[in-house]
Subunit: 131 residues, 6 copies
């Protein structure tokens, strides 16, 4: 169930088809996941999102696996089931072991817990933490 | 402003004082940040939180800097100002460079954006993402 | 799956039945959606919610379609799947075109992204923004 | 207090200075708000965010004031104080009257309330709401 | 700093003044807290919020102190600083001891933690939990 | 669908098996719900979570039913479907009547609503609310 239909390849606009072709080339697979098929109704946002994603998730000062785990952490705090599934799968594909997944989840749980305690206590920020 | 007073060392229960001593020993500094001074009203939760934090944030399959960045990511999605400040400071102390901070933030922003798009579109999870 | 059973018309209290009758009259349809059938266990909250909803969503300084899009925006940030579905459907019924839906989603995504960046950076509010 | 220093004009990289020049030209004011001064540490993200913002917030199928109110709605649900202040100010500059602000807030409050009720009840989505 | 000015008694509309009079009578104090002074710009929402609040927070199947703690719990998960402060103060006024506050916070922290773990793991709901 | 497989009893490590035995003994039932079967991949986090849960949810200054309702409140604000189902079931098992559930939900809805209004208005905290 979605708030738009998922578009098949035959239903794409020319611009959306171009983006799909690039996704396939960059990822080395013919499979296009549902997110892009839903987003394809709006080719401008489709292209902007894909182009920015390529830059943001590329190797840099942080390696791509670390980036995927940060992505999962944000998606978990926001409760985005789709994003948790897709980026956990991406992290596994990039080498996340069960031990690493377990530690990532333990940190997420710890952060959630202390977020709740600190917020409920309304603790003022220490001056030593200022930039 | 907080919902409890921050306790000074002189006001601690014996159990809370023991935990503070361990925090000082493990961290190699006399400084105790406000979170622990607020939590010290409840020595059982103080101890449980500190003991678990030591285990969760220790080096393991993930290095401590990666754990701090995951912590910041969750805290940002939850809007916990105190936690963002304290764990950004901790990440910097563990070697996070400005470039790494910039990439961490870019991933957080990207994840937030696609969390919003996916959720607004209510995209169903692809079967290929199942464990 | 729900935390209460959905009530059929035959199971309603007199007060809940009155509210259902008003929903049917106002909306010009016999169909009652699941939210009201779940809420009907508590007729006081059922009535208060429906009465307030009629006022809040009525034409005023803002037109009802704009109100539905604001509703979807909040529900998306909160991850409320039911509310996203029902208010997206309501927005479409009130004239939201695919182009408008695309732009609404793009704004939601943009806002989520900058919410994440600003919060991670902990940017202080400019004085010029004060009321 | 922020997790990075706000950069003055004298401290900008060449790429960040170009973006600031464009912000000034497009907005017709010399004032640059704190968000951009914090983001300027990462010129690539600065440029990408500004370029995308110009597209997303431009007049289209939705008018810019409606877009600002959707922005405020998301930022409120996410608790982003900076974004609420800056986009409420932007909405006022684009013509949001006190009556419109009052109705926007009433819708936000209504949506938050029913998000909570629906989520606590775990109401299943009606088939009639499917796209 | 707020997105509207706080109204003084002299600036109230007749309808808002009536609501303030009822707040003073019901609470037995002349003090009106900032929330109502901000909300007073929109007398219809002011009245609706106050009237509903009186019903919802009154003694019933749950006692008022339990209701205040549930209120704090929601406000903490949503990161609403104002609401945490005001309803923690209200809970203390209704008899919440430091021990009770400590246990409330421990439950909030525990719930936040398992919310994170369950969501990151995407655990399917057990059939035995269905209503 | 989950991001890890649910482990059967035959697949447990020795440490996880010990924890399952304690869950069964404490709860007086052979049934182990899915959360623990998912968490069992990481026996250290499994044990830490279970041991802390026993302490936090035990009778104390607050009775266990009140604690379950606080748990549901947090889980609702966070949109954690699994947690809402499991802790609503636990609350019912501990005596939550339909009337109590209705009042709990009404408070959750009220809190969500005023969280949205206060946050959208950016109301400053009254000094009288300080600890």
């Amino acid at each position: 169930m979605a708030t738009v239909r998922l578009l098949s390849d035959a239903e794409l606009s020319a611009e959306a088809a171009e983006v799909f072709a690039d996704i396939r080339a960059v990822r080395g697979t013919d499979y296009i996941n549902n997110f892009w098929r839903a987003l394809a109704h709006d080719p401008v946002t489709l292209r902007a999102t894909w182009e920015r994603l390529k830059v943001v998730m590329a190797p840099g000062a942080l390696d791509p696996l670390v980036k995927e785990m940060i992505y999962v952490a944000v998606s978990t705090a926001n409760g985005c089931s789709y994003c948790i599934h897709s980026h956990t799968a991406a992290a596994k594909a990039k080498g996340m072991t069960p031990e690493m997944q377990g530690e990532m989840l333990a940190v997420i749980g710890m952060a959630m817990q202390t977020n709740g305690l600190v917020t409920g206590l309304q603790v003022p920020v220490d001056e030593v933490f200022e930039a």
